[in-house]
Symmetry: C2
Subunit: 238 residues, 2 copies
């Protein structure tokens, strides 16, 4: 098995993902939100690039939908919820369709839809996702990044996933960027937050008093749920 | 001082480098060759994107020029020398102009010419370059990468340069990618080659029996020379 890491959504091309199993990571906070929503029995998640697309799909799908997401970490006008995983409780999301638009994570998913298989992961469901990945051929871990720029938190999660794959498999072949993500994760000696808290996006959220979100988003393996792209939306795979 | 790291030549844009001091790094082997050539008293180095450009400039500049570079780590037909720093001895290059074309390093330089100041660095002249950088405003370390892909060896050198800057300066503000490069370098505990030898490009060169080049390119601070872009070519700054 070969594992590659891509550092930003913008770098994802059809060529890089075709024939591969891709995993999209956007720790702060899109894929942490998605993991929580599916864990709490959302029927499906539809990622869209713009708020306008979200309103249009909601008008077709009717009332059993929730609009979620953010622009610059803030709630979008007319949306039901923002981009905090803590908002997506069972009471809110069970048996509902979540239509979501975020700055980076939804772009990464859109750019990766030509993958053979496409999973969505966060610290919250890393081990569960890895349990699905062990029978894959080649894997591309897609760090969504922040507006085209490398982010520590996504790469730390990529390194965490590689370390979990390494624990289960022999003969894992890592590209240079995958070696770097693994080294970065291993350098934290599992105290991921200590390093992540030096990062730009972490500090933006901290300055906006999203401390509880930060704790949540860096909680490893809280949920035993796997999220998969089915060609139209994200659903529970396991 | 803010320090950013860009991971590939392709990601360099005018916006990212304008008003900044940039440093181009291509350890295997363009900037190692350039450092050696200037150390051995090349009068100037002209980086060009294609062999055709190189021949054209040589025809204008006359006989006192050397054509150097590579395509896929091999000598280019009609060129004097390849991309081994060991080729560029005083006997070969002193008082000559080197016209060079390589796959990644020359593209990184071309994409960064709108920087306020533009330096060329390698492990060979890292400390000397850092001694010049300490009075700069914001710094962008440009890892050339390999055909648009992240490389370990360039990022390890970026991390080495940041560690040297940290030793000299207070209040260094690192972007996420700069934190990652520094962590990667620190994780090697200065045994850079141990980690770099897991990388793709290292192994390509090893398979082509360039072992002596690999030893040379990872030798830190061998030369006390600084290379600077003067708007037309690379010259000795100090």
């Amino acid at each position: 098995m070969k594992i590659d890491v891509i550092n930003t959504a913008q770098e994802v091309t059809s060529k890089k993902v075709k024939g591969k199993t891709s995993v999209v990571i956007d720790i702060l906070r899109a894929t942490s939100v998605m993991t929580t929503a599916i864990q709490n029995n959302a029927t499906q998640i539809i990622p869209v690039l713009t708020p306008e697309d979200a309103f249009q799909i909601k008008s077709k799908k009717g009332n059993n939908t929730i609009l979620g997401g953010e622009r610059n970490a803030e709630l979008i006008e007319g949306f039901d919820y923002g981009n905090s995983p803590l908002s997506y409780t069972k009471e809110v999301i069970e048996n509902k369709c979540l239509i979501i638009t975020t700055t980076n994570g939804t772009l990464a998913i859109k750019n990766a839809v030509e993958s053979d298989e496409l999973f969505i992961a966060s610290f919250l469901n890393a081990q569960a996702t890895v349990n699905q990945l062990i029978n894959s051929n080649d894997i591309v871990l897609i760090c969504s990044g922040n507006n085209g720029v490398y982010t520590l938190e996504d790469n730390l999660c990529a390194g965490f996933i590689i370390s979990l794959l390494n624990a289960k498999l022999e003969n894992v072949d890592l590209t240079d960027s995958a070696i770097a993500s693994l080294s970065l994760y291993q350098s934290t000696k599992t105290n991921v937050v200590k390093l992540a808290s030096k990062g730009y996006h972490y500090n933006v959220l901290k300055s906006k008093q999203f401390d509880d979100d930060l704790t949540e988003c860096f909680t490893p393996n809280k949920y035993d749920v796997v999220l998969k792209w089915n060609g139209e939306s994200i659903i529970k795979a396991v």
